[in-house]
Symmetry: C2
Subunit: 199 residues, 2 copies
């Protein structure tokens, strides 16, 4: 229970979303997860859509905090801890139920500009953080100067979205992908002697 009614509603929405998924979710499900009535919830949020947009803003803060918490002194370690957090199935990260609901919300983005705008923000934040880590790693002499920060950030952001989509839709395990990315970082990003005769 929270002091602010809106915090309580968003908390209840989060739990109801995990339990019932997005498509099937009703205001009653949300009321069931809180001490508030449907009428009280409706007083604060006009529609299910408005409530979801507020939930995405709330989740965005949590997401950026989670990403920022992976900071390490070495950019190389920072990149690894970030990818570990985003590609793990551990309990302290959003679980399968939440990811399942988020994929439903993602699939609604083409029909709803406000949802789309929020998802763009999630992607932009992740992209920018990865880009900065790679750039810092080049400055620190950990990553090769030939590594292009934007390109790697682009590929990793897209890989993470793909891994989450597959995890939800086809019960894909991210373990092998984690290994592949780690090996890619060690082999292709870390600084090395210039290659003779490379194409």
């Amino acid at each position: 229970m929270n002091d602010e009614p809106t915090s309580e509603i968003l908390d209840a929405t989060y739990h109801a979303l995990c339990k019932h998924g997005y498509a099937a979710l009703t205001l009653q499900h949300i009321a069931d997860e809180s001490a508030m009535s449907k009428a009280s919830i409706h007083y604060y949020y006009d529609s299910k859509n408005e409530l979801f947009v507020a939930l995405l803003d709330f989740l965005y803060d949590r997401y950026t905090t989670q990403i920022d918490s992976t900071a390490r002194d070495s950019p190389r370690e920072h990149l690894r801890s970030l990818l570990e957090v985003l590609l793990t199935d551990e309990e302290d990260t959003p679980g399968t139920e939440f990811r399942t609901a988020m994929l439903e919300v993602t699939a609604q983005a083409p029909y709803d500009d406000k949802i789309r705008d929020r998802l763009v923000e999630f992607g932009d934040y992740l992209f920018e953080r990865i880009r900065q880590i790679i750039a810092a790693g080049i400055d620190a002499g950990e990553f090769a100067e030939s590594v292009a920060p934007s390109r790697i950030a682009e590929a990793f952001t897209t890989l993470i979205v793909g891994a989450n989509t597959r995890q939800v839709a086809v019960e894909y395990s991210t373990d092998r992908l984690s290994e592949t990315i780690t090996s890619h970082i060690e082999t292709d990003l870390l600084i090395r002697t210039p290659v003779e005769g490379a194409q």
Copy 2:
């Protein structure tokens, strides 16, 4: 119009799906796209769900044919043409409307084993084809022996899913990603002189 009523229904379902999306789709929308009545469609398919599973089987055939059509003599060229077809926005590939509907279908997979099974088949087919191309490229002396076919196939399959998800949800352009992958293939997969002092 097709000779087989089931082909006509699946064709109509495909067009209705592109036009209305998955969630909003009704049997009437499908009937509107064909010369058949709702009752006739219902005679062949008991439920919307059964119709979708049949549609996914139909699309699977089209997908494998599309993937197989990218074959080239050189594995390196084969890999590039495959990625180009799967990451392009050109008209002869499934358009945005179709991808939007497919993301909705994907988001339903956790709630429906039959849909999930079909999506697993799509992913498995793509993974296996990429793995074979990389393995053939190593045999042919185009790709370095240090390249692990399964790992690259895993990463590329996940990248393609991620690119399609982002394309639909946040209007992501795959152009930059295509460039990044091409550069990755040229720089990191193609055979080169062994690296001295690499970690």
